[in-house]
Symmetry: C2
Subunit: 224 residues, 2 copies
DNA sequence: GTACCGATTAAACGCTTGTTTAATAGCGGA
DNA sequence: TCCGCTATTAAACAAGCGTTTAATCGGTAC
């Protein structure tokens, strides 16, 4: 019968090595390096996964599945840095976290899927905050959570890109901690008190737009 | 005498081709592609610049010099998207803009220099806004402008990474326009009205920090 | 005239890349 | 015992990489 043979464990080891290497060195890394990490020959990598492109696709699927499984374990707090930091602290999740961050830098399907999920979580989190009375309601809640998600994830990725001393997956926890320490106070300040003294600036901008009634979430839905 | 010979114009053509190719395809692109774009042989590229690494360093210096020259022409508005969008619209600056964005994605010295400059501009701009009474004062103005610069640049870079249909330098203007259109309203909303209903959240966080008096800008100055 | 010099290139070198080919070893079933 | 299947690999392949070597032009100075 098709019982789990010896090769399945080897394939899993190759997949783990691929996620780790891709996350550390980017998707330009060679198959030979991945094979060496997994303790197998380069040919075996291709034998199991069919090629480099399909190996990356398998990594995408693997990380995405692990992400979905982790999501069931505990509710997210809706922020990108919070989610990433929590993932990085989970035993054995650091390589996957690095893989996600690498995908956000180089682009690809996993990055888009991750952002969509982050935006969805953030939307639900903010909505709950609005219902609880701690978050201000928005004229366009989805657009706001999109913007906040892009800002949170983008600033974190950019900060880590410019601070390569935190590149190793072991240093992620420290790097994210440093990033949060550096940005938390001004972020809370802006979110708690605003940035402009005159709220009328927003109204002015809105009044000069062509139409403000039916363009609620058209821009975010028209891009898929 | 050492008048500008024929080779200087050729070297400039190679440099322009390198900036364009690096910006379009990333720093992994081959020297042969750059040489073909410039209409010369690969060996001539190395003859003039000494190797791929030094060619990229020359590109960095070239873009940085052009950026400094452009800075003298008109004052910036202090925002990342505003600066990039204005650069992209200048005749012939689109390839350099792409080069900057590519550097922000892959890291390197130019990316760090660009962010430092952006933060400096943003700090001055916000300070002027505070003096004029339209921007709220901050407990740590530099940290706030750092955070806002990272959020603005990071969200833009991430958005463009996930929307590869705007990858060509010709499409930059449209892409940045789409990004601004998508994020401007919720951004103004948060900046004008805040995100939290209760400003005391910030005070609570500040009071639980070890010390809030002398840690003003230590984190941002300790990283150079 | 000829010796030199910068511009330029074709060709090759050594290396790495992703992938293929062919082979070896081990094991379960007929 | 032989067949077939899976796991696995060494070796080769073709292509691409950055770079080097050696050569060819076209001036310009002496």
């Amino acid at each position: 019968m098709s019982g789990t043979g010896e090769g399945d464990r080897t394939a899993a080891r190759i997949l783990d090595a691929a996620v780790d290497r891709f996350g550390r060195d980017g998707f330009g890394v060679g198959i030979r390096a991945i094979a060496a990490d997994a303790g197998v020959s380069p040919a075996l990598v291709i034998h199991y996964f069919g090629g480099k492109d399909r190996l990356r696709a398998a990594c995408d699927a693997h990380v995405l599945a692990a992400l979905a499984a982790e999501k069931h374990r505990s509710a997210t707090d809706g922020t990108a840095a919070g989610l990433i930091a929590r993932l990085a602290e989970i035993e054995g999740f650091a390589p996957m976290t690095a893989y996600i961050l690498r995908s956000l830098r180089e682009g690809g399907d996993l990055a888009r899927a991750f952002m969509e999920q982050l935006i969805a979580d953030s939307t639900a989190y903010l909505e709950a905050g609005v219902a609880a009375g701690v978050i201000r309601p928005s004229r366009d809640p989805v657009a706001r959570s999109r913007m906040l998600s892009y800002q949170a994830a983008g600033s974190m990725v950019l900060w880590l890109t410019l601070h390569p001393e935190y590149a190793e997956p072991d240093a992620f926890a420290r790097g994210l901690n440093a990033f949060v320490t550096e940005t938390m106070v001004p972020m809370l300040e802006v979110y708690a008190e605003g940035l402009y003294t005159n709220p009328a600036l927003l109204e002015e901008y809105l009044s000069q737009l062509p139409d403000t009634s039916s363009s609620s979430s058209s821009s975010s839905e028209a891009e898929s």
